[in-house]
C-alpha cells in the first residue's frame, strides 16, 4: 500500500471514500453547507421570467433527520446531512448544487453517501412517495476546445405513478432553449423535465429502504467521468457496478459565459403529494491530475 492510500485509510472521515489522487472537494455537512446552494433559474428584469420548474426550488437545509415518533436519526457520521426538500405535490422537484470550474480536463470521481424518504405524515411505509433522487454535472469545455456544454444526468427512479420501480436511469436530451428578456444575454432550458429519461442497462437495484418511513439507511454512490472526452466511465451504488461508457450525456452548444464550468447538482422528485427528502451525508469530488 502506498503512503497516500495508507494516510487516507487512516483518516476516519476519508476512509469510507476511494478518491482519485487529488481531492477537489470533500464536503461533510456536519461542517455546514460547504458551498451547496439551491439552483435558481435564469431570469432577466423580473423573477416572473423564471421557468416554473426552477421557480419551485428552495434553499437546501442542514437536517438532523428529526422524526415525530423517534426523534433525531442523525447522519452517517455526526448529526447533520444536507437535505434537499421538494414541495408537497406530485412531480415537485428541488435541486441543490455546488458551482466550480476545472483546471485540467481529465478523469473525475464523485462519491457520496445518501438516503431519501418522504415526509412521514402517514402511518404507512410510503415507499412509493419519492419518485427519484439523482445527480448531474453541468459542464462546459474550455473555450479552446471547440465549445460544448455537457450535462450527464443520473437518477435512481424509486417510484413512478405509485409503482415501486427501483432502477437507475440517464438522460441524453434536454428541452429546447428559450430566450429570456430583451437583452439577448440570457436563455433557459429545462433539463430536468420528466421526459427523455432512459433506463440504464441492467439498472434495477433493490436499495435498503427499511420498514417504516422514519428509519433510513445510508447508501454509497461512485460516479467516474472523464472531462477530456466528456463521457461517463462507470457508476457504482453499494454493491452494484455499471459500465457507463455507452451512455450519452446531454450535449448542447457552449454558452459564452460558462467556460470550464464544473457544477455538481443533486435533485429530488416527489411522486405523491408529500414532500420528498433527499439527504446527503457527505460528498467527495476527486480528480486524476498532477
Amino acid at each position: 500500500m502506498d503512503t497516500l492510500t495508507a494516510l487516507r485509510l487512516a483518516n476516519p472521515k476519508l476512509s469510507r471514500f476511494s478518491p482519485m489522487s487529488r481531492i477537489i472537494a470533500f464536503d461533510d455537512f456536519d461542517d455546514g453547507f460547504c458551498g451547496y446552494t439551491h439552483l435558481v433559474g435564469n431570469y432577466e428584469h423580473t423573477l416572473d421570467a423564471m421557468l416554473p420548474g426552477y421557480a419551485q426550488h428552495t434553499h437546501p437545509q442542514l437536517s438532523n433527520l428529526a422524526n415525530w415518533e423517534s426523534g433525531t436519526h442523525g447522519a452517517f457520521d455526526g448529526n447533520y446531512a444536507l437535505k434537499i426538500q421538494t414541495r408537497p405535490h406530485r412531480g415537485a422537484q428541488n435541486v441543490a448544487l455546488k458551482r466550480l470550474t476545472f483546471r485540467e480536463p481529465g478523469p473525475i470521481r464523485l462519491e457520496f453517501y445518501f438516503t431519501f424518504k418522504p415526509e412521514a405524515n402517514e402511518l404507512r411505509l410510503s415507499e412509493t412517495d419519492v419518485r427519484s433522487v439523482g445527480f448531474l454535472y453541468d459542464l462546459q469545455t474550455g473555450y479552446e476546445e471547440g465549445g460544448t456544454r455537457v450535462m450527464p444526468h443520473v437518477r435512481f427512479l424509486n417510484a413512478l405513478d405509485g409503482k415501486h420501480v427501483q432502477k437507475w436511469q440517464t438522460k441524453s436530451r434536454t428541452t429546447a432553449f428559450r430566450p429570456l428578456g430583451t437583452e439577448g444575454k440570457t436563455v433557459t432550458h429545462y433539463h430536468l423535465a420528466p421526459t427523455d429519461w432512459e433506463d440504464l442497462k441492467n439498472g434495477e437495484q433493490k436499495l435498503c429502504y427499511n420498514e417504516i418511513p422514519t428509519k433510513v439507511n445510508w447508501h454509497y454512490v461512485r460516479y467516474d467521468f472523464d472531462l477530456r472526452t466528456m463521457r461517463a466511465m462507470s457508476l457504482q451504488c453499494n454493491d452494484r457496478h455499471w459500465d457507463m461508457s455507452g451512455v450519452d450525456p446531454i450535449v448542447i452548444p457552449a454558452m459564452r459565459n460558462l467556460w470550464c464550468m464544473l457544477n455538481i447538482c443533486f435533485f429530488a422528485e416527489a411522486d405523491s403529494d408529500k414532500r420528498a427528502f433527499f439527504y446527503l451525508d457527505s460528498v467527495c469530488l476527486s480528480g486524476e491530475f498532477a
Binding site: 455546514g32 453547507f33 439551491h38 435558481v40 423573477l47 416572473d48 423564471m50 421557480a55 428552495t58 434553499h59 437545509q61 442542514l62 437536517s63 438532523n64 428529526a66 422524526n67 415525530w68 447533520y80 437535505k83 426538500q85 414541495r87 415526509e119 412521514a120 405524515n121 414532500r275
Partner: protein, 113 residues
C-alpha cells in the same frame, strides 16, 4: 471556529393568498434567526390587513405559533422583519390573507449559530 451564518431564501416570488404558509425550514443548528418578508408586488385587495405569524414545530409537520406577529408588507418593496431565538428545529411563516387579497413575497431567513 468561526460562527456559521447562512441566508436561506424560503419563498421566492410566491403569490400568497388565503391561508398562506412558507415551506418548512429545518435550521436547528442556528441559535438565532431573522425572518424577512418583502413584498415583490402583484398586490391585490388589502393584504396589509393580514397578520403574519411565525410558527415552530417539533417535527416539521405539526405547527404552533411561536408568538411573533407582524403586519404583512402591503406595498411593493416594503419589507418587515422579526428577530427570533429559541425556535427549536423547524421554522415557517404563515399569513391569513383577507378575502380577495394577494401579493408576491420574498421570504428570507438569516440564520446564525
Amino acid at each position: 471556529m468561526m460562527r456559521q451564518c447562512v441566508t436561506a431564501v424560503v419563498s421566492r416570488n410566491e403569490l400568497w393568498s388565503g391561508k398562506a404558509a412558507s415551506e418548512p425550514y429545518e435550521c436547528g443548528w442556528a441559535g438565532e434567526a431573522i425572518v424577512w418578508l418583502r413584498c415583490l408586488g402583484a398586490v391585490k385587495g388589502k393584504p396589509g390587513a393580514a397578520k403574519v405569524r411565525v410558527q415552530i414545530s417539533p417535527d416539521g409537520m405539526r405547527w404552533v405559533d411561536e408568538g411573533t406577529k407582524f403586519r404583512f408588507p402591503a406595498k411593493e418593496g416594503a419589507i418587515v422583519h422579526a428577530r427570533l431565538t429559541n425556535f427549536g428545529n423547524f421554522l415557517r411563516v404563515v399569513a391569513d390573507m383577507p378575502k380577495g387579497a394577494s401579493a408576491k413575497v420574498l421570504l428570507t431567513l438569516t440564520l446564525k449559530e
